[in-house]
C-alpha cells in the first residue's frame, strides 16, 4: 500500500487505501489527550464502598477541600427521559445525596493542588453508611417483595417494551416444532485504553468555562451540563481533543464532568481529573448484562414461522443520558429477528434496576447478545431437524429486498445469502469436517461455528424518535470552506476518536471538488469551532457525516463551476474540475481552485452580485438508515483437560456497501472481532454477593492480547446502499456483533461428543468444564 503520487487527475480518491491523515502526529507522540493538560487543582472522587445503603455521615480531614452533595445546592439531577414503554424517569444526583446505590458511586470530591495530595486526602475521608442488602442480579430484583431501589420505579422495572404481531398465536400453535433457548450474557465493560478524563478551566475575562473531556458527543455534553447546572450554554465550551477510544462508553454524560465544570466556576480556576483504571472498571459504564429466553416456531421443513423472546436487561443503578437505559432492551426488541425472514414476532423486553454500575451503550448495543442467542438457537434447531447449520440458514435468510421486518423496519438491499456462501467457500467445510474427525480420534476437539447477522447502521432522527427518546440524535451538519489561500476546511458535528474520519471525509471531498486530500483539514470536537452535531457512535459517522460532507461538497463544486464560468467566460457545462483547477473542456483555458477561492473573497465585484461572497457551504443529512450484513465463521480448538478454547482462524464475509477506504474499513472489522473474541471467551465484570466488583484491574477483566486473536481473513461484497447518498453503509460495530455467536457455535460444535450445551458468554474454561462435569454426572445417573 502506498500514497499515490498522482495528484487527482483521472483517479478517484474514494475506494483507495490511502494512509490516514491522523497518523503522523499520533506516531510521534504528538497526540493531545485530555490528561496531558496541566491544572491548578486536581480532583479525586471518594466512592462508595457499599452497594446499597443510607449515608449517615461524611467526615473529612480538617482543612481539606471536600465537596459533597450538600455543597451542590441548585444543581439538578441527571434525569434522562423516554416517552414510551412505561418508562419511569429516575434521577441520578451528581454526588450521592441521601443514599448510595452501587459500589463506586461518587460520594465526595476532594480538591488539592496535585493528584497525589488529592488521593492522600481522599484516603482519609470517612463515609459512614447504614448498609442494606444489595440486589446484584436482575432476576432477584424482579422477585416479589424485592427491595425497591428507586422510589419512582415499583418492582425495580424502569421500562417494559411489548410487541406481538397480529395472528401470532394461530401460527405458533400450528407449528411443527418449537425450539427454546435460555441464553445468558454476563456483564462487560467497553474498556477504552484511555480511561475517562476531564479538565475544566475558567476564563475570568469572558467568564466562560472550557471543558476538555474524553467524550464521543461534545455538543450534547455541553447541552446536558448547561441544563444540569442551569447556566447559559454559551458560557460553556466543550472540547473532545484526541480521544483514546470510546466504543460507546464515552457517549454518556458522566456526573464527574458536571462536578469539574461546577468547581471551575466556583474556584475561578482550572481543575483536572483523570480516572484510574479501577474507577473505569467499576464506576464508568457497563453493558451486556442480559438474560434472554428465545423460542422459535418452525414448520416441518425447518422454515422459521415465529419468534418469541423475553429479554431481561440489568440496567444497573441509574439511567444513562442521552439514550436512557432503554438502549439495550429496546435494541434487543427491535432487532431480534435479525437477518431471517420471519413475520410473526412476540417480545417482552424489560430494563431492571439493580445495585450495580449503570449500564450504557457498548459497541453493538445488545446485538452481540441477540445475535449470539438467535444464532445459537438456529444451530439447536438444525440439530433437532437433523440438518446442517448452513442449510437451515440457507432456508431462512432474507433474500428479497426491500424487506419489511415484523417490527416494521425496512431492510434495504443486502447479501445475507451471498456472504454465507462466500464464507462457506472460504472455509472448505468438507476439509474441516475431515480434519475434525481425525482430531477427535486422537482426543482433540475442533469446532466450526457460523453466524449471520444484519447490522442496522447510519440511522437518522426518525429511528431515535420511534424509541420515544426525548433527545433524538440523527442528523449531522458539515460546514465546508475553501479559505482565501485555497486550502479546504470541513467543520463537522461528528466527533471521531480513532475511526479515521478525517481521512475518509477528505477522500469524499477531494473527489467532488478536484483537490488532493492532503490540503483538506477536517475539524471536529470543539463546540466553539464545529457546528452542532451528535458525535460518533452507532456506526453512523461515515454514512451521516459523510453524506452531509458530500452535500456540502456538491454545493462548493457548483459554486466553483459558476465562478469558473464567469472568470473563464465559458458555459458551466463545459467546466471540468480536476487536479486543483477548473478547465474549459477541449481548450487550454484554466484557473486554479485556489485563485477562484481567493477571488470569491477579494474580487467579488467581478461576479456582479450573482454569486454570494466567500466560499463556505453547509450540508445537513438525516437518512432513514441502512443495513450492513456479514457472515462470521470461527474455527476453534478445545482442550478437554483445561477447558481452554484456542481460536484457530476467523473468517468474515461482509457487505458494508461502498467502501471509502479499504484499509480503514478492514481495521474497523478487525478491531470489532477482537472485542467480540474478548466478549465471547474472556471478559466479564464479576460482582460478589455483597455487590462488590472483583474484576477491578485489567489482569482480572482480561481484554484479549495479540495471543488470543487469530488470523482474521476478510472477504468483501460491496452492495451500494440506496439509503445513503455516499452508497456507504456503516461497519463500526459489525465485528463484535457476529464474533461471539460464531465462537459459541464453534465451541458447541467441538463439544458435540459430550452432550453439553454452552449458552452463556463469556464461555470461560470454568463454565465449560462445569458443564462437562454436569453432563458426566447426568450420564452416570442414567447408566
Amino acid at each position: 500500500m502506498s500514497t499515490p503520487e498522482t495528484k487527482g487527475a483521472g483517479l478517484k480518491w474514494v475506494g483507495r487505501a490511502i494512509r490516514r491523515l491522523e497518523d503522523p502526529a499520533l506516531v510521534r507522540g504528538q497526540g493531545r489527550f485530555t490528561a496531558d493538560l496541566p491544572a491548578a487543582h486536581w480532583v479525586r472522587f471518594v466512592r462508595s464502598p457499599e452497594a446499597a445503603g443510607k449515608i449517615v455521615k461524611i467526615t473529612a480531614p480538617e482543612g481539606a477541600t471536600v465537596i459533597t452533595a450538600a455543597d451542590l445546592k441548585g444543581v439538578k439531577k441527571i434525569t434522562p427521559m423516554l416517552h414510551k414503554f412505561a418508562y419511569r424517569p429516575i434521577g441520578q444526583p451528581i454526588l450521592a445525596d441521601s443514599g448510595v446505590r452501587f459500589v463506586g458511586e461518587a460520594v465526595a470530591a476532594v480538591v488539592a493542588p496535585s493528584e497525589e495530595e488529592a488521593e492522600d486526602i481522599a484516603d482519609l475521608v470517612e463515609i459512614e453508611i447504614d448498609a442494606s442488602t444489595p440486589i446484584v442480579d436482575s432476576r432477584d430484583a424482579l422477585k416479589d417483595g424485592a427491595r425497591q431501589i428507586h422510589d419512582e420505579a415499583p418492582g425495580n422495572v424502569i421500562l417494559e417494551g411489548k410487541v406481538k404481531t397480529p395472528g401470532f398465536d394461530a401460527i405458533w400453535n400450528a407449528a411443527a416444532k418449537i425450539i427454546k433457548l435460555d441464553a445468558r450474557s454476563h456483564r462487560q465493560n467497553a474498556t477504552p485504553m484511555e480511561a475517562r478524563a476531564a479538565h475544566a478551566a475558567y476564563d475570568p475575562v469572558s467568564r466562560r468555562v472550557t471543558l476538555h473531556c474524553t467524550t464521543q458527543m461534545p455538543h450534547l455534553m455541553r447541552t446536558a451540563i448547561a441544563d444540569v447546572l442551569s447556566m447559559p450554554e454559551s458560557d460553556l465550551r466543550v472540547i473532545a481533543p484526541d480521544v483514546g477510544g470510546g466504543f460507546g462508553q464515552k457517549m454518556s454524560l458522566c456526573a464527574e464532568y458536571v462536578v469539574l465544570v461546577w468547581l471551575a466556576r466556583k474556584l475561578k480556576s482550572s481543575v483536572g481529573w483523570t480516572e484510574d483504571r479501577r474507577e473505569n472498571l467499576i464506576a464508568s459504564f457497563h453493558s451486556r448484562d442480559q438474560y434472554i429466553t428465545l423460542e422459535a416456531a418452525f414448520d416441518k421443513n425447518a422454515k422459521l414461522l415465529a419468534l418469541r423472546a423475553d429479554v431481561i436487561s440489568n440496567i444497573g443503578a441509574y439511567s444513562c443520558f442521552p439514550t436512557t437505559s432503554g438502549v439495550e432492551p429496546l435494541m434487543a426488541m427491535a432487532e431480534m429477528p435479525g437477518p431471517y425472514d420471519v413475520q410473526q414476532y412476540e417480545c417482552r423486553a424489560r430494563g431492571v434496576i439493580t445495585n450495580t454500575c449503570t449500564m450504557a451503550a457498548y459497541r453493538g448495543v445488545s446485538r452481540p447478545v441477540i445475535t449470539f442467542t438467535l444464532e445459537r438457537l438456529m444451530d439447536k434447531a438444525a440439530l433437532a431437524f437433523g440438518m446442517d447449520p448452513i442449510d437451515i440458514r440457507r432456508r431462512n435468510l432474507i433474500d428479497k429486498f426491500p424487506y419489511k421486518s415484523a417490527m416494521g423496519l425496512e431492510y434495504d438491499e443486502a447479501t445475507y445469502k451471498e456472504t454465507l456462501e462466500m464464507a462457506v467457500k472460504a472455509v472448505d467445510v468438507p476439509a474441516f469436517r475431515a480434519r475434525q474427525k481425525a482430531a477427535r480420534a486422537k482426543g482433540k476437539y475442533l469446532g466450526l461455528g457460523f453466524a449471520t447477522f444484519s447490522e442496522r447502521t447510519g440511522y437518522g432522527s426518525p429511528a431515535f424518535a420511534a424509541r420515544g427518546m426525548e433527545i433524538t440524535p440523527g442528523w449531522e451538519t458539515v460546514h465546508l470552506t475553501i479559505d482565501p489561500s485555497g486550502f479546504v476546511e470541513a467543520r463537522i458535528g461528528s466527533s471521531p476518536h480513532g475511526q479515521g474520519l478525517r481521512t475518509t471525509l477528505a477522500q469524499i471531498i477531494a473527489d467532488e471538488i478536484g483537490v488532493t486530500p492532503d490540503i483538506i483539514k477536517v475539524i471536529h470536537g470543539d463546540t466553539d469551532t464545529a457546528p452542532y452535531g451528535w458525535g460518533t457512535f452507532a456506526s453512523r459517522s461515515l454514512v451521516i457525516s459523510g453524506g452531509a460532507t458530500l452535500i456540502a461538497a456538491r454545493k462548493i463544486r457548483a459554486k466553483l463551476i459558476k465562478i469558473a464560468s464567469h472568470l473563464l467566460e465559458a458555459a458551466p457545462e463545459d467546466i471540468v474540475l480536476e487536479a486543483g483547477s477548473a478547465k474549459v473542456a477541449g481548450t487550454d483555458r484554466t484557473i486554479t481552485i485556489a485563485k477562484m477561492a481567493r477571488e470569491a473573497y477579494t474580487q467579488t465585484h467581478k461576479f456582479k452580485g450573482e454569486i454570494e461572497p466567500g466560499m463556505t457551504e453547509r450540508g445537513t443529512y438525516d437518512p432513514p438508515g441502512t443495513f450492513s450484513n456479514a457472515c462470521h465463521v470461527a474455527m476453534v480448538e478445545f482442550d478437554i483437560e483445561t477447558g481452554h478454547v484456542r481460536m484457530e482462524k476467523f473468517i468474515v464475509a461482509e457487505d458494508a456497501g461502498k467502501i471509502i477506504n479499504p484499509m480503514i474499513a478492514d481495521g474497523q472489522v478487525h478491531g470489532g472481532i477482537a472485542q467480540g473474541i474478548g466478549n465471547a471467551l474472556l471478559e466479564e465484570i464479576i460482582y460478589d454477593e455483597t455487590g462488590v466488583p472483583t474484576t477491578a484491574t485489567l489482569a482480572d477483566y482480561m481484554p484479549p492480547t495479540a495471543h488470543e486473536i487469530p488470523e482474521i481473513e476478510l472477504h468483501h461484497i460491496e452492495t451500494p446502499s440506496t439509503q445513503s447518498i455516499t452508497k456507504a453503509k456503516g461497519l463500526g460495530e459489525g465485528g463484535c456483533i457476529g464474533a461471539p455467536a460464531a465462537i459459541i457455535n464453534a465451541i458447541n460444535d467441538a463439544l458435540t461428543p459430550f452432550n453439553v450445551a454452552i449458552d452463556e458468554i463469556p464461555a470461560t474454561p470454568q463454565r465449560i468444564r462445569a458443564a462437562l462435569r454436569e453432563a458426566e454426572k447426568a450420564a452416570r445417573k442414567t447408566a
Binding site: 500500500m1 502506498s2 494512509r19 490516514r20 491522523e22 497518523d23 503522523p24 499520533l26 506516531v27 510521534r28 507522540g29 504528538q30 497526540g31 489527550f33 490528561a35 496531558d36 496541566p38 497525589e116 474498556t191 477504552p192 485504553m193 484511555e194 480511561a195 484526541d242 480521544v243 483514546g244 477510544g245 466504543f247 483523570t274 484510574d276 483504571r277 476518536h497 480513532g498 475511526q499 479515521g500 484499509m663 480503514i664 478492514d666 481495521g667 478487525h670 478491531g671 470489532g672 472481532i673 477482537a674 472485542q675 484491574t697 485489567l698 489482569a699 481484554p703 492480547t705 495479540a706 495471543h707 486473536i709 482474521i712 465485528g735
Partner: protein, 159 residues
C-alpha cells in the same frame, strides 16, 4: 515519604533536573515534571503497557518504576524516535500497515517493539508475537500492529 529529592532524568539525550517524591512513578515524572506527554498511562498496574519506555536499552513499564530509580540512566520515549523530519521505520510501518486507530496505546507499542528489535533483530515470528502480547490495544485487533512490526523488523535489519 513526601519529602522531595533532586534528580536528573535523561530523556532522549536531554537532561531534566527535577524535584520528586520518592514515590513518584517514572511515567508521572516524564509526563508532568518533564512535560513529555507522548508516553501515556493506561492502567498503572503494569498490565496494559501504554506507558512503555526504553531505559538503558530495555523496554520497561514506566508506571512500575520510580523516577528515582531511573536517575542517571538513558531514557528513551516516543518523542525521541524520529530524527528531524524522518520517522523511525517503526513509526512509518505503523502508518503503512494501519497499526493504530485512536493512537493511545501506540507510543507504548512503538517503544516495546523498537526496544525488542534493537536487542534481538532476528527474533522469530512466534517470539515476536509473545512480546507483542505484553501490551494491550483495544482498537486494531492487533492485525495491523503485527504486520507493522514484522515489516519494520525487516527494514531495521536491512540498516
Amino acid at each position: 515519604m513526601n519529602e522531595k529529592t533532586d534528580i536528573t532524568l535523561t530523556i532522549n539525550g536531554a537532561d531534566h533536573t527535577i524535584k520528586v517524591e520518592p514515590r513518584r512513578t517514572l511515567v508521572d515524572a516524564i509526563r508532568e515534571d518533564c512535560g513529555q506527554t507522548g508516553t501515556h498511562i493506561g492502567c498503572e498496574h503494569g498490565v496494559c503497557g501504554a506507558c512503555t519506555v526504553i531505559v538503558d536499552g530495555e523496554p520497561v513499564r514506566s508506571c512500575l518504576m520510580f523516577a528515582v530509580q531511573a536517575a542517571g540512566r538513558q531514557i528513551r520515549t516516543v518523542e525521541g524516535l524520529a530524527t528531524d523530519d524522518k520517522l523511525h521505520p517503526m513509526q512509518q510501518a505503523f502508518m503503512d500497515h494501519h497499526g493504530l486507530q485512536c493512537g493511545f496505546c501506540t507510543p507504548g507499542f512503538l517503544m516495546l517493539a523498537v526496544g525488542v528489535l534493537e536487542r534481538e533483530p532476528n527474533i522469530s515470528d512466534d517470539d515476536l508475537l509473545d512480546v507483542l502480547s505484553s501490551n494491550l490495544c483495544r482498537c486494531t485487533g492487533y492485525q495491523g500492529i503485527i504486520k507493522a512490526v514484522r515489516a519494520a523488523a525487516v527494514e531495521m535489519r536491512g540498516k
